[in-house]
């Protein structure tokens, strides 16, 4: 009986974990960014230069990318990042939201950041 209870608990935990894991992979604006600790960044000539120590790849962010990166470092949700960038640039909110999510997705796929669902 004790063994069956342990199995059930393990199963529930696994379902919860997979649910969280899957939730992280679908981006939305309520999520926050985690910076990968092997990535270093420095601003040079208005561009953000990123070095991923894991593979020694360099990345460069243009002016908009740099602005987004800098705001993300203030530990905001993507919604807050969106609002901060809207204050800085004259751009339509819908367009910026779409571009922001594409940009963040690229950073995730390049191994530079991870996204966190704040409910997990």
């Amino acid at each position: 009986m004790k063994y069956i209870i342990q199995l059930l608990i393990g199963l529930i935990l696994r379902i919860w974990y997979n649910s969280c894991k899957n939730r992280k992979e679908i981006m939305n604006l309520s999520q926050k960014i985690i910076f990968v600790d092997t990535v270093f960044s420095q601003e040079v000539d208005g561009e953000m230069v990123l070095l991923n120590m894991n593979n020694e790849n360099y990345f460069g962010l243009d002016e908009m990318g740099t602005a987004i990166w800098q705001v993300m470092q203030e530990n905001k949700t993507l919604q807050e990042v969106l609002e901060a960038i809207l204050e800085q640039y004259e751009v339509e909110a819908e367009v910026l939201e779409k571009d922001l999510l594409i940009f963040v997705d690229r950073l995730v796929k390049s191994g530079l950041i991870r996204i966190l669902n704040d409910k997990c």
Binding site: F40, E43, V44, G46, E47, V49, Y58
Partner: protein, 296 residues
């Protein structure tokens, strides 16, 4: 002899002695120890690494990540010699092994050991570049291997410019100004392992402010020479290709240092027509930007 702004004295090898001294510089003596036990003096030992045609390994009493100004350590070059940095006395001790020669000692001390000492104690950061003096400033040449650094450095020297280095340079920051600290007075315009080349008389001994870094890019023999100033991430190519000392634990520090340098030093890409007949044209393209000829 003056090496990386230090006065280096090979106490026990007369053939390596020079009569050049400098009272205001730190003196580092390189002295033979007949017997020196690495195992007794150092707790930690690395695995063997290939370097300059031999195998070598590091010894230290604490991890290299903790290196600072007072950090003694050693390098064992298999079957050749051991080199010990005595940080308290600021001397280099060496013990001979069966393949030792004075010339090999000179190579390993000047080319490898002293740069490692100075980088680990954070006196400088090093780049693998060629460099000459133009109008009292240092010009640095960066490129891939076989990218033309040595050829261009050699051509400038033939035209009377003093050499800072044909292999590695120490970079020192003083506020927002970056200085190039010359290496050692030898020039090797040919590829041969474990040699420094022939002695150079026209050698810069004082640190010089850096005018610019030129990233050499090979091009077809007949194309026009173009000079483009690099910005942002493109600037890093010049430094990324020019890494000389590559400890993992120093990568972040070096990244930060060269990012700051990139904000304060101009970096240009210059296309180099792969045609020896046009080397003079490349030379004048660079020199005329720094020291324009007088208009008549």
């Amino acid at each position: 002899m003056i090496v990386f702004n230090r006065h280096i004295v090979f106490q026990n090898e007369e053939t390596l002695q020079t009569h050049i001294s400098h009272d205001s510089l730190e003196t580092i003596n390189v002295a033979e120890e007949k017997e020196y036990s690495l195992q007794k003096n150092f707790l930690l030992k690395s695995g063997w690494y290939p370097m300059s045609g031999r195998e070598m390994r590091y010894y230290s009493s604490k991890p290299f990540e903790e290196a600072g100004r007072i950090f003694s350590w050693a390098l064992e070059i298999k079957d050749t010699m051991t080199l010990v940095w005595d940080a308290d006395q600021r001397n280099i001790l060496y013990t001979k092994k069966k393949e030792y020669t004075p010339q090999i000692l000179k190579f390993w001390v000047l080319h490898t050991f002293i740069p490692l000492i100075l980088e680990l104690e954070r006196s400088y950061h090093f780049l693998h570049v060629g460099s000459v003096e133009v109008a009292d400033k240092a010009v640095l040449f960066s490129a891939f291997s076989y990218g033309g650094k040595s050829t261009l450095t050699d051509y400038f020297m033939q035209n009377g410019h003093a050499m800072l280095t044909d292999d590695s340079i120490a970079i020192e920051s003083r506020g927002d100004t970056y200085f190039a600290v010359s290496s050692y007075p030898f020039h090797r315009p040919f590829r041969e392992i474990e040699t420094l080349g022939y002695p150079v008389v026209n050698f810069v001994t004082d640190p010089k402010p850096i005018h610019a870094v030129y990233l050499l890019e090979k091009s077809e023999p007949d194309v026009a020479i173009e000079v483009t100033e690099l910005k942002g991430i493109e600037k890093f190519k010049a430094f990324y290709y020019s890494s000389f000392i590559d400890f993992d634990f120093m990568k972040q520090e070096r990244f930060g240092f060269f990012a700051e340098m990139a904000k304060n030093v101009a970096i240009y890409k210059i296309t180099i027509p792969w045609n020896i007949e046009r080397l003079d044209e490349v030379y004048h393209t660079i020199v005329d930007r720094i020291d324009p000829p007088d208009m008549v």
